[in-house]
Symmetry: C2
């Protein structure tokens, strides 16, 4: 693809049950990834890239979603947040404030 206008990275890290850090995988990242994938297809957003990643850092705030080039990290993301992130941030150019990770995490 040509260089996208927005690049959405989703942490898919998995850790064994009971691991002290937990993981985004345990916190529903696969459903979040699928929701983004579906939104991009439904809205035909060809200028937006979507990529799975390993650990992005703030495991306690998973599922983590990081958007570049704006450099905004969203935490505790659930599938219901995905249309709002798409509408407000990707299409509207305004950060979806409800789920922005706090400054101590990013």
């Amino acid at each position: 693809m040509p260089k996208p206008d927005h690049h959405i990275f989703i942490c898919m890290q998995k850790r064994p049950p009971g691991h002290p850090r937990g993981s985004c995988g345990e916190r529903g990242s696969e459903a979040v990834f699928n929701a983004f994938s579906q939104q991009l297809i439904q809205r035909n957003l060809q200028n937006v890239a979507l990529t799975q990643t390993g650990c992005l850092g703030p495991c306690q705030a998973g599922a983590n979603v990081l958007v570049y080039p704006s450099g905004v990290m969203y935490g505790w993301v659930e599938p219901d947040d995905v249309p709002k992130i798409i509408e407000q941030h990707i299409l509207g150019g305004e950060v979806y404030a409800d789920k922005v990770a706090p400054a101590e995490l990013w």
Copy 2:
């Protein structure tokens, strides 16, 4: 970590031998990742994040390395390129032109 000044993403995608697209894993991405990891530690670059990813797209140009927020994709990256990307791009603020992916790929 706090929001980094540079975020380096490395495609670690693996595919079975003989797969028509090949993969960055097959093209040495693990050694490239290790080289970046070593450089960041040796130079104590705490303002640079390093993250493994799934497929970034231009498989034929692997190993692929993507740097944000500048949005520069490097292709055909080998471990020997890593100190040059660190010095020129991350520390010097100038793209390491030798391995920038061509415009038709990114």
